[in-house]
Assembly symmetry: C3
Homo-oligomer: 244 residues x 3
């Protein structure tokens, strides 16, 4: 099991992404490890998504390095040869939702206060094409189109209804259920399961691999715009005020 | 708000399509206008679809001009930078359904007598690939395949169940609800919403743009066939008789 | 109507596939025949799928011939110009499920003991890309991804819920219902229905046609592996023991 631990909100900073990638690589190379449950050790939050401080007031070089790390995590989780189960034990906006969407199976705590979704549009930014592709592969084109345009955060019951998560369970049963699901998936022969997974996901993985540098350039250009920087600063101010 | 008004049934004649395109272009260029609700001022009918008289007993030149106008409307509605809400206040077969499918959100009056669908196959004609692509993006491949092959017209409740419309409301609440939905969509920053919409819809738009002349040629060849002309004449006779 | 009859379990042997292809070709060329209902004359089993004895302990030439016959059946059923209705009157794993998925409409007997699914992964083998494409076109990407990775066999009610079959009816009503559905589909003009079907299915058909020899090579290489042969032998032993 892998627990994201970066209080207070598990935001995906460059540091956390780098550690996460290294841990995944180790597990991937460990033949005794056939599956991983991804969850959070922070109460009420699975992951708050990409760390906005990494995208605000930094250099182009920093944005480049950061975005490459975001791509890297997605590539590793989405095409992992291990069985990946997300035990979503709290809210999971934006990049946090992407991590969950990239697993093989998503179980969420049945708490109507927890929400999940790709809410980038709410912040005035656009989810990149591979976030979109991952989302479409889970919920289909129509639900993705509407949810992405509105930047919707869906409550746990709504997320379940839309197919964004596969199952809801009471919070106290979440890890038990995740372990049971993992056992079910591990009962299958690895090789056939892995080849099947690759067949399903390769087109979307290949698309990012083919356009990786272009995607970084797009991100850096977009995020460096003064209008975007301004709206991110305003968003951070708002978060600070809400906290205090 | 834009009201289709061409009694008795709002059929999409060359004239109505041309006016519609001009109106949309004006709104699109008016920066104060960020959204449009498309509805009908004709009772019980949203739009009866393409005007069959434009496809029957006319010259090849006429068919060419007509089909280009149909393509034009779809391109404008489907890739509009405005928020587009269809307030479907009556039946909406074929081309009428296409207009609704091309909006960002569809609300339909909860009247089981109103129906909606791409029923071309019933008339012995084939919905072109971009009607199909638009339909698949809303309801998915399986429902589209079955519905297009059978030329199904779905009652409002059925259309809602299939995802063809997003919401049903009592007839008298339709415009109020459409305004509320519009307000919700307009609460988002335009730029991010527009880029997201383009990302979702561009592949399907590009496909028609790339094959536009070929698609016109296909239509003109198909519609000029004596067998098709005959079945359209029979269909019009039937409509006349039903009316009298 | 076409009844698969190869007791005890309607497994798709080279012989049955060849007969099936010839019968379909005859019907296809018979202009009086506009539709076909595919069902089984074996109690409780629609088809047990590809005959494992054809894939075990045989020559490369045999595997090649067998796989070409499997491709041929799928190409014929999936792109048939006739209306094809599957009356699934028993369990239908793997290749049996593929036959059903390739029809225009699937009705299944409402018996919770009957199951259907592409369970290849359970046997340690991988459903080829065109099985996957056919499946995705029916149930969408997410359900296909999960079901294929787990090699799930779905009970009739579950299959209906997932959209894998279109309708459940009591066993004794199955043929009556299939005839009624056929009548509904045959009420449409053939030409428009056929062109619509081609439009929906051609991309997936073309993909196999373009990669047919490569797909045969992949199958033959995969199935000839000692590890795969071993797991097929173990599976057959298990089936034998279960029978006695």
């Amino acid at each position: 099991m892998m627990k994201l631990k970066s209080p207070p909100v598990n935001s995906l900073s460059l540091e956390l992404l780098t550690e996460f990638a290294i841990s995944l690589e180790k597990l991937e190379n460990n033949r005794a490890c056939r599956g991983v449950i991804i969850t959070s050790s922070v109460p009420k939050i699975f992951s708050s998504g990409l760390d906005i401080t990494e995208m605000c007031g930094k250099s182009m070089e920093h944005y480049t390095e950061f975005w490459r790390a975001v791509q890297e995590i997605w590539l590793r989780v989405y095409s992992s040869s291990m069985v990946t189960v997300a035990a979503v034990n709290g809210s999971s906006p934006a990049g946090g939702c992407l991590i969950a969407l990239s697993c093989d199976y998503r179980i969420m705590a049945e708490n109507p206060k927890f929400s999940i979704g790709l809410n980038e549009a709410q912040l005035g930014i656009v989810a990149p094409f591979w976030f979109k592709d991952t989302f479409v592969n889970v919920v289909g084109h129509r639900i993705a189109e509407r949810s992405l345009q509105l930047g919707s955060l869906h409550s746990a019951p709504e997320a379940h209804k839309l197919g964004l998560v596969d199952e809801l369970v009471p919070e106290e049963k979440l890890m038990e259920k995740a372990a049971a699901v993992m056992a079910q998936w591990l009962a299958l022969p690895d090789h056939a399961r892995q080849l099947t997974k690759t067949m399903m996901r390769k087109p979307v993985v290949d698309r990012l691999v083919a356009h990786r540098e272009e995607d970084i350039k797009n991100f850096v250009t977009f995020i460096s715009k003064e209008s975007i920087q301004k709206s991110l600063r305003m968003y951070m101010e708002m978060l600070k005020k809400r906290k205090s």
